[in-house]
């Protein structure tokens, strides 16, 4: 009993820490609708800046508080810069496009932090008062944790007062409800958005600095923080502060008690909880369905068949790709193989995101499932390469059919996060189920046999499968199925009125995309000769998102261009410079600013401008 009481308090303390990170994210999302992937980077910067300030101050409580506030202020300033320099230019872009810009920021901040603070973990020495403990139920409980337990609700209260008892708060809430109307009433949105960003970033920095007595400032904290924050925000309901606090409580307590009863479940507990909540409450615990004014459902352009010129251009590229082995060296060939696989991977995500209207943060689940299905077919079943590739389509396809039925009930970021939860479960199984998947060490020795042993032969097979697969997807999107799918995306009600079944259509698109991504994963397994849990990891999912968004969601060529641009850029930069993250991040941000509809989208606009004038 005593133990449970202490564990309960421990859970409350971690809930407060979680809330501080998530609060900023939910405030920013609520008003600006920006999925801020860089929120974890702001948290990390808060910790590093906090370290720099606090190590120079006297170690008394008063100075500590001052230092933490200083770190929060500095992070708020960085947040404003991020908003003013990068995001302000892309507010008008399609949904989720801002995510791409913030991903560029994540990459740049990683390298910048390494350059400024160096590679070592930085820990803040704790003076006696930070190490103190209180006796609770006969056990020693950290006094600082008691302080944390209090700070969470206090911040919640302060934010509530700010949003409900000040004029500024009224404006923020109005903008959350209906951005267009608020603008029409003469509220300067730019100022409002900047202020909201300062608040959100400041909260992230505050959380980062407050984490210093418990953990070191390190270069991995950005990604783990942002993923946790997203989970909290989504469980709580997007934009809902009380919801975020409730979700933090849920996750904090779940972890504290979960590790007692199922110590091995630490990796999946959080994501299983998120999936469960979303299946029962599709808008999170306290989230409400979006009001009409919040849904900025502009009519997306109809994707038509490519103009003849583009078709010829595509054919020329294909011919060039086919003859490539005759003049390209082995390394260029391996890059081309990766690019080709990326095309199918990106095209499959595009089916969901573009015509399907279902953004996914966990597309790597299917890629990973395909890779592991192929690998296990070879390793356990002794299958040939071709049979293994068949397994790489079927297994993820079947999983996608089953899982799709749950997913398609959701929409927007909620749907995206449910796919992320599924991907994390797949990843955790691959990572932990040593007996089946080989765990972190992966499955090795999957080199294709027979005539596929030579690199050009395998490349041609890859080209045939991946370009062929992408063309099949394109054909499906140009067929009545694709038009029906887009109809359900653009207007679910009207689609229903003419007798379409939106759920079946979306589930079918989901299964199609899953199977295609699985095939890409299967080919990738043979290209690399091995599979690893990372193939289903968050990084791989983000890769797919970046490719599609970079190319442009609203054209069929978009994912192809995006896959080539991102994979090529990444492969070349990784080889060329040790600061590749900074340069890749910068390149992404510049591309985002130059082409807010994606590279292919922008090209299309320039093309049409010439024709229609």
């Amino acid at each position: 009993m005593d133990f449970l009481a202490v564990q309960f308090l421990t859970g409350l303390a971690s809930a407060s820490s979680l809330f501080l990170v998530a609060a900023g994210l939910t405030v920013i999302f609520g008003v600006t609708r920006v999925v801020n992937f860089a929120h974890g980077s702001l948290f990390m910067l808060g910790a590093y800046i906090g370290w720099s300030i606090l190590t120079r101050l006297p170690r008394e409580p008063g100075w500590f508080a001052l230092g933490v506030l200083g770190a929060a202020g500095a992070t708020a300033l960085l947040g404003v810069m991020l908003e003013a320099i990068v995001l302000r230019r892309v507010y008008r872009a399609p949904e989720l496009f801002q995510l791409l810009a913030t991903f560029g920021v994540v990459l740049m901040v990683q390298d910048a932090t390494l350059a400024v603070w160096g590679p070592n973990d930085l820990s803040l020495a704790r003076p006696a008062w930070l190490r103190a403990s209180v006796a609770i139920a006969g056990q020693r409980f950290p006094a600082y944790d008691l302080f944390l337990i209090g700070i969470g609700p206090l911040v919640l209260l302060a934010l509530w007062l700010l949003l409900h008892r000040t004029r500024w708060g009224v404006l923020v809430r109005a903008a959350t409800q209906d951005r267009e109307m608020t603008a029409a009433l003469g509220v300067d949105q730019r100022l409002l958005f900047s202020a909201v960003f300062a608040l959100g970033a400041g909260l992230a920095g505050f959380g980062g600095a407050l984490s210093l007595p418990d953990q070191s400032a390190n270069l991995q904290m950005d990604l783990s923080a942002v993923v946790e924050a997203f989970v909290i925000v989504v469980i709580g309901g997007l934009g809902s502060l009380p919801g975020a606090y409730l979700a933090s409580l849920l996750i904090g307590l779940l972890q504290a008690f979960g590790i007692v009863f199922v110590p091995r479940a630490t990796l999946v507990l959080v994501f299983v909880a998120m999936a469960a909540v979303l299946l029962i409450r599709p808008n999170g615990l306290l989230g409400r369905p979006l009001a009409p004014g919040q849904i900025t459902q502009e009519i997306r352009p109809v994707i038509r068949a490519a103009p003849t010129t583009l078709k010829w251009l595509g054919l020329a590229c294909l011919v060039l790709a086919i003859v490539a082995p005759f003049f390209a060296g082995p390394f260029l060939l391996s890059v081309l193989t990766e690019c080709t696989i990326a095309i199918l991977f990106a095209a499959s995500l595009h089916v969901m995101m573009g015509p399907g209207g279902m953004p996914s943060f966990g597309h790597a689940a299917w890629f990973g499932l395909g890779a592991y299905a192929a690998a296990l077919a070879v390793e356990r079943g002794g299958a040939s390469t071709m049979v293994a590739l068949l397994a790489a389509v079927l297994v993820p396809g079947i999983f996608a059919i089953v899982f799709g039925w749950f997913v398609v009930r959701l929409a927007g970021v909620y749907l995206a996060m449910l796919t992320l939860a599924f991907a994390q479960v797949v990843w955790a199984i691959a990572f932990q189920w040593d007996a089946l998947t080989g765990g972190d060490n992966g499955i090795l020795g999957l080199w294709p046999g027979g005539w596929l042993r030579s690199a050009p032969a395998f490349y041609w097979l890859t080209l045939a499968i991946c370009v062929g697969g992408a063309l099949v997807l394109r054909r499906a999107m140009m067929a009545p199925f694709g038009y029906a799918l887009r109809a359900t995306r653009d207007s679910t009600r009207r689609a229903q009125a003419i007798g379409l079944d939106p759920r079946s259509l979306r589930a079918a698109a989901f299964a199609l995309a899953g199977a295609a991504a699985g095939l890409a994963g299967g080919v990738f397994a043979f290209a690399k000769g091995s599979v690893f849990p990372g193939y289903a990891g968050i990084g791989r999912s983000v890769d797919a998102l970046v490719m599609v968004l970079l190319g442009g969601v609203d054209t069929m060529a978009g994912p192809i261009v995006g896959a080539l641009a991102y994979t090529g850029l990444y492969d070349v930069l990784l080889l060329a410079t040790s600061q590749w993250r900074f340069i890749l991040g910068l390149a992404i941000i510049l591309l985002v600013m130059a082409f807010p509809e994606g590279i292919a989208g922008a090209t299309r606009r320039f093309w049409l401008r010439g024709r229609e004038a």
């Binding site: 303390a13 820990s123 020495a125 190490r131 409980f141 783990s224 972890q255 630490t266 992966g442 080889l575």
Partner: protein, 402 residues
Amino acid sequence: MNLTRRVLLTGTAALAAPAIVRAQGTRPIRIGEINSYTAIPSFTLPYRNGWKLAVEQVNAAGGVLGRPLEVISRDDAGKPQDAVRLAGELLDEQKVDLLAGGFLSNVGLAVSDFALQRKKLFVASEPLADALVWEKGNRYCYRLRPSTYMQAAMLVEEAAKLPAKKWVSVAPNYEYGQSAVKWFKQLLSAKRPDVRFVAEQWPALGKIDAGATVAALARAEPEAILNITFGPDLTNFVRQGNTRGLFEKRAVVSMLTGEPEYLEPLGDETPEGWIVTGYPWAQVDTPANQEFVSAYQEKFKTHPMMGSVVGFAMIRAIAAGVAKSGNTDTEHMADGFAGAVFDTPFGRAAFRAIDHQSTLGTFIGKTVLKDGRGVMADWHYDDGGKFLPPDAEVRKMRPAAG
């Protein structure tokens, strides 16, 4: 001064590679090196310094077989799939004579498998996975660092002397943590049948919920604790453990914690009396280590880490292996590296013929606080060769390579 140092360096390098012949103007021996420079900078940046220093010394002493060493280095971004592509680039475009490097076990295994496919030599420096030389071991792969098994065996030798019977474990939930706990339990139980493991915690790597983990471990009321966590998780765990009194009156055995990379962030909170593996760089007063530390400090204006030793010893091992093989033909090297003897800051080591594992060991000692910093005390060096299973068992565990 300059002259004496030159003489010193020449001397040490000559020791490492007995077959050095002086000659100039010949084609360099190209080493294709891959590591997780951006993903794990705290280990890999000191590691890079280490191999740079060794290359400089070896070349100053005339190179190997009269040829200078040249390292072409690549960043794998922490992803095995990128490491495989870059390994191909190094072989096909850069025409390197052999591959080397690796920090993460899965990167090491992926490159090893690729090297086998291409029939090229791969010298794995840091990856600890046992599979690298055993289950997945192959003719072309040699490994430098003492494996998870070896480090567990070293810790068990000390742990068996403890009176404690009731143990708990905490380890990151992936292959490294799982196999470290598995070996430790197995080896300790063999030596001490009276020992029981009463609870285990498996925090996700990088995401430890330290307060809850500490409380759950304390609840089992253990007499001793096995810790496998490292890096940010370790800092977090130690802080909660200190405040909550988990480590008081309990023995703690902890893997890798004595390595400067992981010990330094603990600062003045380093718990005293933990039995750890690591590297007390300032205290080891053998000439080999002293020369290494002073040359390193002079060149990089900072002290060496464990990574520095790994990078340095990797080049020494390659130099010795190539010298023993007589040329850079892969098949010659695959045979010739076996039994190659090389000198490291830790002392002399050799690649075993039976499983291509080097006998490089590590230091075992107890943590103490000195001037507000954690250091190792009562340490001794454990030669890796003494902590490996009998040959018959090794052969059984190494089916693929024979």
